[in-house]
């Protein structure tokens, strides 16, 4: 069997890099959590490229140990020995990690990645170390700063180093570090600099003054980030309110139906998203990430269909009796909620953000804009534009406006009012369905989803002025931003109460909403 022997040796040679560090994985697997932490810290201070696969596996939670404490790495269900070619004794169990270890693994990983070839990887690692570097890594960072060729990575590393140098014995080094930290807008730098203001901590007056200057700089940058963050959250909340209310702006604003079942249309839209997600999981798992896009038309047509069916069977008999639509649609909403509860269960269902809607973009050190919120803001504007175009640039829109302004006259002009009513209600419901898709990406999907948005939706439409699309847009963003300005000052609960009180006061001034029609109103 010479070939088999050859192969075996070849295999051993391939394992050599691992074998040369024989013991790391085994040490780790055998250690207690406290020891494991020590090990990781020492690895972080002295990176070794060969340890990278082990750290990667640890980070992904793929390292297991059998009953002999021999470490294995799991790969697609198969266990492979980290060192040597041992077969697991019994079934290996994954190593139990806790948050402290995970943090240390990430930090060790970062210091190993400083040696990577790709500057982007090195940059990310350097940034991570700005947060997590420990004094033991001082030497490593010092060396890397000296040898790093890429300017950007070197800057990032210098900052990480500066964090550690704040306690350097040489005042000149401390001074330089303090000055450097002033350049950042990192919230951590602020805490670090603040401690230096205390003469008991920092005995050098020059450094203290420099720290003060740097601190002022950092604070200014942080303030900018905070304000931008507030503005963004206001916009984001506004866009959510808008998506929730836009359908209602049509069914209630234009058709005059006090549509208490509007919230349930949002809910149906969200459940459609859930169903599409399930279908993708079952039928096309490779394209799962695209399911929210596919959910848009599905949700639109499902809710529009339900809306049109309701219009045909119930609501069409109630035109001209607006307050009675309240009663009937309230009944419809009860039925829809319970129906969903019976079909899908009372619990929330899981609608996951696909990767392109997860996470966020780090704009400033203290400002992350989540992708799902950015997309929803854009989507809200898109839907508004679409609705506006539909209502103002199409035949259907013309008919809808004609019917809502003067039903009899429109009928005389040959507008098929029945069909227009149905289509308009369907459109409003469909838009609510689109809103539901968006809402499913940030909150709960459960039978009560609609109930939590219905009051806000009515407030937006009424505040904007019934029948005024532009008013609804303005009202939604106004409410969103006002809410987010008040919340940090007085808390979420009082903020909400105050907003409601302000709305009540505002309506005193403009009883017909923001965008009321002026002129001769005959009643």
């Amino acid at each position: 069997m010479p070939t088999a022997v050859c192969r075996f040796f070849l295999f051993l040679i391939l394992l050599l890099p691992l074998a040369s560090h024989a013991g790391d994985a085994a040490d780790f697997a055998a250690a207690s959590p406290a020891k494991q932490a020590k090990l990781l810290e020492s690895w972080a201070a002295a990176p070794d490229a060969a340890r990278l696969p082990l750290l990667e596996a640890l980070q992904q939670g793929r390292v297991a140990a059998d009953s002999d404490k021999t470490p294995f790495i799991e790969n697609a269900g198969r266990y492979q020995a980290v060192e040597g070619a041992a077969e697991p004794v019994g079934s290996p169990r994954k190593l139990r990690l806790n948050n402290r270890l995970r943090g240390l693994i990430a930090s060790a990983m970062a210091s190993h990645q400083l040696l990577a070839d790709d500057p982007a990887v090195r940059l990310a690692a350097a940034r991570h170390l700005q947060k997590s570097a420990k004094p033991a890594q001082l030497g490593l960072l010092d060396a890397r700063v000296a040898s790093e060729e890429n300017q950007q990575v070197r800057d990032a590393l210098s900052l990480a180093l500066a964090n550690l140098q704040l306690v350097d014995s040489n005042p000149a080094v401390r001074l330089a570090a303090v000055r450097l930290l002033g350049e950042t807008g990192d919230p951590l730098a602020r805490t670090r600099l603040e401690t230096l203001l205390d003469p008991a901590v920092e005995n050098d007056a020059g450094v203290r003054t420099a720290a003060e200057t740097s601190l002022a700089q950092v604070k200014r940058k942080l303030l900018i980030g905070e304000l931008l963050g507030q503005a963004f959250s206001g916009l984001s909340l506004g866009s959510i309110l808008l998506l929730a209310a836009l359908g209602l702006a049509i069914t209630f604003g234009l058709l005059g139906v006090i549509n208490m079942a509007h919230g349930e249309m949002l809910m149906l839209g969200a459940y459609s998203t859930y169903m599409v997600q399930i279908a993708f999981q079952k039928l096309a798992p490779d394209y799962l990430a695209l399911y929210p896009l596919a959910a848009l038309p599905v949700a639109f047509f499902v809710t529009a269909g339900v809306g049109m069916a309701l219009e045909r069977t119930v609501i069409r008999h109630l035109y001209g009796r607006p307050l009675e639509t309240l009663l009937a649609t309230w009944g419809i909403s009860l039925i829809l909620i319970q129906l969903v509860r019976v079909l899908f269960g009372a619990q929330n269902v899981e609608v996951a953000n696909p990767y392109w809607l997860s996470g966020g973009i780090q704009v400033l050190p203290n400002l992350v804009l989540p992708y799902n919120r950015i997309v929803i803001i854009g989507f809200a504007l898109f839907v508004v534009v679409l609705t506006w175009l539909l209502l103002n640039k199409t035949r259907l829109g013309l008919n809808v406006r004609a019917v809502t302004q003067n039903r009899n006259m429109a009928a005389c002009c040959g507008v098929p009012t029945g069909r227009v009513d149905m289509l308009a209600f369907g459109l409003g419901s469909g838009i609510a369905g689109l809103g539901g898709v968006a809402l499913s990406q940030i909150g709960n999907v459960g039978p009560d989803l609609g109930q939590s948005y219905i009051i806000d939706s009515f407030l937006v439409v009424v505040l904007g002025g019934v029948g005024q699309l532009a008013g609804s847009v303005l009202a939604a963003f106004g409410l969103g931003i006002a809410n987010k300005i008040l919340e940090p000052q007085i808390g979420a609960v009082l903020g909400k109460i105050l907003i409601l009180a302000l709305i009540i006061l505002f309506i005193q001034k403009r009883p017909q909403g923001l965008f009321a029609l002026k002129g001769r109103v005959i009643d």
């Binding site: 002026k518 002129g519 001769r520 005959i522 009643d523």
Partner: protein, 283 residues
Amino acid sequence: MRATPLPEFMLEPAFDPAGSSRDAIGASAVAAQGLNIRHGTILTLEEINVSFDGFKALTDLCLYIGVGELRCIIGPNGAGKTTMMDVITGKTRPDSGVAYFGETLDLTRMSEVEIAQAGIGRKFQKPTVFEALSVFENLELAQKTSKTVWASLRAKLSGEQKDRIDEVLQTIKLDASRQRPAGLLSHGQKQFLEIGMLLVQDPQLLLLDEPVAGMTDAETEFTAELFKSLARKHSLMVVEHDMGFVGSIADHVTVLHQGSVLAEGSLAQVQANERVIEVYLGR
């Protein structure tokens, strides 16, 4: 809906048909109201401007109505006739200008209710009555009396007030329908009911917006007679498109165009006015 029997308190003693149906208003006297009309002018509008979102509905409008005068206002659609009435009754606030009722009451500073209580009555273009209430109840509400909450909680019709209502019911020929809900009346009947409501309200200045729209010829003729009998004791301002009707009642006609007065004078005078002809015939 069926006619419903009248609650006991609404049942009336038989009405005396000998009463003068012509002089329906009875013995009210303008001067007795404390309204200062020393200079013989009951309504003064000067330089009134109103605009809606950039559209100028009234432009420097000037108009004076004398005490006891019957004035007809004519003008093409969109001339500002209804807006002018809105300004007088306080429904629309002018952007600028002066509006006085008598010599002392500044209409631009009064609320609709105050204006109505001061003695300006208005009939809407579209007949507006309280549809759920009976004809009798409509008149009861309109009748001149204290209109505070407290008063209405303890209100009981006096014999005198019932007589007044019966009298007006006769005048507007709705005696037989007194118990019918007003919502069931025909268009013309609603017009008369609304006029009746003005009569029991007993205002000094009546603003009437297209009072004969939807009336038969006979009804129109009767209305003309009624208005003529009201003039002198009351001041009337009638907006109307029906030139025949205008001709039969008016001694003085004002033509409005694009929010301001185009011409004033007798009907013959304004009909001969070059600019009026131009506006009406589009030459």
